[in-house]
Assembly symmetry: C2
Homo-oligomer: 190 residues x 2
DNA sequence: GTCTATATTTTGATAGAC
DNA sequence: GTCTATCAAAATATAGAC
């Protein structure tokens, strides 16, 4: 891994501050201070505060999109696909805890890219729902309200960023297994 | 129900704006404009922006505290207590969707009341965890990692405010039942 | 690439007329 | 109880020296 550039450092530290206080409450002076430079110097590396948010959120959203596409394209059972979705969330959340917080909490502060983000999120949820409905049709999944099932699983997965840092004891595999047991095995016919 | 006072209106509309953009991104001018008065007029009814946030969050946090206390004091089984916790979240979220959003997303912007809020939240989670651990001891609940169980259930319940508005078709009882099925029956021994 | 200095806007909040 | 006028501080961002 190459040496971190100043721009990468700015984005990394910004994501950390955004996680703690939210995009709107973090000032460019806060960010500069955390890096130990002056606020004006930030603008030699980034165009605007908004650009920082855009880079953080859109890159993760596209990771989710491509990850979901791979799962959809696979010819696995619905339950296997759901397990892969869980693993995808665990992996992406583990890779970028702070960015995930911004994705979850600050997407509404996107300006030019807001519609693009909303489209990606909507597509993702539609794919998720199709997996659940297919699983219900093939009787892999209990015939519960599919929206309640998706809501329950997806909100849990979207909150992983809050929880992973506290559970260093659990590695990603263990966490995926535990979530599988609670989220999936609970809803499958036995 | 008595006529809404101007102060109550300010708090109600503020919660709605906070839900959409977050506390920090909502200005007193935004709030005044939504009520169709001037920003300076707000201060005839409230002391500060911070006071509005405090009223919104602390009142709900205390509702959760007293609701949990009633559940703990009851001599029901662990599973029955968990079902009551779900009903508590559904009820409080339904009663105050926008306030619940502020509780979830803007608690870190509390100033004087931050420590008090954190204490209430910590106590709540400890009580929740005790219910789960008791249920595992009595074998009502599967012997999964209790923290994963609590995390999964609690994050789902805490996100209800996002979801209830979209599901007007489901009333509170139906929603509780569906959540019970997905969250509880999935983790019980059969 | 970082700095000082500064422009411009916006912010929470107050004073005082009505 | 609401308004206009205003303050003081803080915000994002730019210009230009080094």
């Amino acid at each position: 891994m190459a040496q971190e550039t100043r721009k990468q450092e700015i984005i990394r530290v910004a994501a950390e501050l955004f996680k703690n206080k939210g995009y709107s409450a973090v000032t460019m002076r806060d960010l500069a201070s955390a890096i130990d430079i002056k606020a004006a110097s930030l603008y030699n590396h980034i165009n605007s505060k908004q650009d920082i948010l855009k880079v953080i959120i859109i890159s993760i959203a596209e990771d989710f999109t491509s990850g979901m596409q791979s799962i959809i394209d696979s010819k696995k059972s619905s339950i296997s696909k759901l397990r892969d979705v869980i693993a995808l969330h665990v992996r992406l959340a583990s890779n970028n805890i702070n960015g995930m917080a911004a994705l979850n909490n600050d997407w509404m502060h996107l300006e030019d890219q807001l519609d693009f983000y909303l489209k990606l999120r909507s597509d993702y949820e539609n794919n998720f729902m199709e997996i659940i409905k297919s699983g219900i049709e093939t009787k892999e999944i209990k015939n519960c309200n599919p929206e309640v099932i998706m809501f329950s699983i997806l909100t849990t997965l979207r909150s992983l960023y809050l929880w992973i840092p506290k559970k260093e004891a659990l590695n990603a595999n263990e966490l995926s297994q535990n979530l599988n047991q609670v989220l999936i095995d609970g809803i499958t016919n036995k």
